[in-house]
Symmetry: C2
Subunit: 181 residues, 2 copies
DNA sequence: TTGAATTTTCAATAATTTTTGAAAATTGTA
DNA sequence: TACAATTTTCAAAAATTATTGAAAATTCAA
């Protein structure tokens, strides 16, 4: 696939953003390319379009697949593997959130849970543990909430989001009465 | 401040997690230390506790301040700067979300907005642009929604989150009727 | 002002991460 | 099974990022 100025900018942007997230430039660019490609691409096409080595693409695909941000497909009479990004943006959000939770939130929650089991030996430890408890409570609540919300269909979610503004208007009033902004 | 096994584990965990987010190990550890510290710490104390060079701490503090995850304070009769992490976990969430939006979402949105202004020259470009439009719409909607939600007070938000489960139960039913998961 | 205390900068070094090419492994088919 | 096509692995090289110590800059009290 040939990059035009329009698509190149998109691809490069995702490369740079990639490094702000945990993924590297290569992976970001490959993903962006698959996202806008009208048809699945094979590894050589990706390597050529982005000027990466073939093996780099192989690594990148492994990473993307582990994030479930790319899928493999095949063409009849062609042994090569073709890759495509999931089409549905809601699905992508969903997947990303789930993987982030698995890789970042869950380990943190277990660390916190374990820390909360310990008996603090000093005032400092007591204080530290109290802070960890606060963090644990909020993270857990947010996670549970997020899980719930994620079970909703895209349509319902969109509806809820649009509703958000209204909920805010109603509730915002109460908040202001309590001086909470 | 002296690290105990309990607090050390917490600090190291945040160091490692830091690298999954865009921030580095040092910054992650400093933040964790400030978070659990019962009182503000000065740069030397931080450097000593975490075995970093003084200058590394200086860099790290600059970064943390830019994320608004640390504040400076002073003690009377002491010229050194003391640092502390904001106490309120809701505030921290809020701040983080805001900075992430500013640094990652907004640049992406402007790139997309610009790309959407271009007139596509080929079918491929037309397709690419359509995909970008989908992405733009969802990201923008999510952002606006998030802004709205963020205006709510922590109390209201907690209420909404607890409500989440119920909303889901009611709405989930409708979804199932429509065969949507 | 001066100068001691403190913080910041910055170029050099260290450490880590990414990228590559070549070799090994795998896959599907003749 | 044998072999050609394809993918993966992996150690070395390249690139990037983090860390440091020394020097410069800043701050504030005398």
């Amino acid at each position: 696939m040939q990059l035009t100025p329009l698509t190149e900018r998109f691809v490069l942007h995702f490369g740079e953003m990639g490094s702000r997230w945990g993924i590297n430039r290569t992976v970001g660019q490959i993903y962006a390319l698959l996202f806008i490609s009208p048809q699945p691409l094979n590894a050589d096409e990706i390597a050529e379009t982005l000027s990466f080595s073939r093996s780099n693409v192989s690594m990148g695909m492994k990473e993307l697949m582990s994030w479930r941000l790319a899928r493999m497909s095949h063409r009849s009479g062609d042994r090569r593997e073709y890759f495509e990004a999931p089409k549905d943006i809601w699905e992508i959000f969903h997947t990303l959130a789930e993987e982030k939770r698995r890789r970042e939130i869950e380990p943190t929650l277990s660390m916190l849970r374990e820390a909360l089991l310990a008996t603090p030996q000093t005032d400092e430890e007591r204080h530290a543990q109290a802070r960890m408890r606060e963090m644990h409570e909020l993270v857990e609540m947010a996670t549970v909430w997020f899980e719930e919300v994620q079970r909703l269909s895209p349509e319902t979610l969109e509806g809820l989001m649009r509703l958000g503004a209204k909920v805010q208007k109603v509730l915002g009033f109460t908040d202001k009465l309590r001086g909470k902004e």
